[in-house]
Symmetry: C2
Subunit: 192 residues, 2 copies
């Protein structure tokens, strides 16, 4: 079985960033350090090896900017293969395990789908997202019902937190969906 090239969430984040504008490693670090993308590590020990991997897999290509000067920089941009790989990840169906273990990755995908595939694809994604999240909420409610009545309140409250959290996710998605659908009769989708 061939290994998926964009394995980790960090790789996806970097790939998506570069898709929007060519970046150097330092640029990527700055974005992670100063924007809400700060949920990702900006440490050089994470960024530079990740860039190397993506380059080795042929998903991004680096060209040396300011070559002659004493302070050159590697600027990476997406290759055709990279764009293809990114799209493949973005249109992948939303699975139960994703909502349980990789919510952050799903949020990344949401933003990147919007920016690169346009409104329709985003709406499709959101519908799948809502479906899976709501299914998981039902599962959690089941757990809640199966707590023996003498359980100390803390475990119950902890589970409450999970429930609220996922309900909120579904609600956010439904709202976003409404917003995108009504605000879009005029449609300005993205391009290739």
């Amino acid at each position: 079985m061939k290994k998926e090239p964009t394995g980790s969430t960090l790789s996806l984040a970097i790939l998506g960033l570069i898709a929007q504008a060519p970046c150097s490693g330092y640029d990527v670090r700055k974005v992670f350090a100063t924007t809400p993308m700060g949920h990702f590590s900006a440490s050089p020990g994470a960024i530079y090896p990740a860039l190397k991997r993506l380059e080795k897999d042929g998903l991004i290509g680096g060209t040396v900017d300011r070559a002659q000067t004493l302070r050159p920089r590697q600027v990476y941009s997406l290759t055709a293969k990279g764009r293809k790989a990114l799209c493949d990840v973005l249109v992948r169906p939303v699975r139960r395990e994703d909502v349980i273990w990789h919510m952050d990755q799903l949020m990344l995908r949401f933003v990147f789908i919007g920016n690169t595939l346009g409104r329709k694809a985003t709406c499709d994604f959101l519908k799948e997202f809502v479906r899976e999240v709501e299914a998981y909420v039902v599962e959690l409610q089941g757990h809640m019902g199966r707590f023996p009545p003498d359980t100390p309140p803390y475990a119950r409250l902890g589970l409450q937190h999970g429930l609220h959290s996922y309900r909120m996710n579904a609600q956010w998605a439904r709202r976003a969906l409404r917003g995108l659908q009504e605000g879009s009769e005029g449609d300005k989708g993205a391009e290739a």
Copy 2:
């Protein structure tokens, strides 16, 4: 600088579990596989090495159960040192980085504080939690305000998600706090 013995979230989860009742590796796996604790990996490649680490650090002690039989099991229980280490983690102040990067760990701590240190400590924890979460909400709102007006809606919606998420966290904590505080005066009243 001495390394913290309960480094990873998984280690904390295991330690907390064993604190409530002695467990074998298999027991731990079952809990992770069948309860809302399923956010942690139940794979043997994660559990057994983690148990070894905890044992090596002297935080848990294993005794062989059903020794003579052909299917013995290692049952681990907390050592005094382990209980101390657990408490140290639990009463550690809630820092900004925790709410950004280790929310799952904070939720674990919440439940374990309740079960092992009681109501007062839990309330203190929740107060700190609310404080840090709300501070972070303000920070995120700042980001939102600084979006240039021509930003495509998707990034904005992504940030929305984060905002809602953290607001919900704060709200959950405030509710839990109210519930615990009033439930303690009458001493019996569960919250609605």
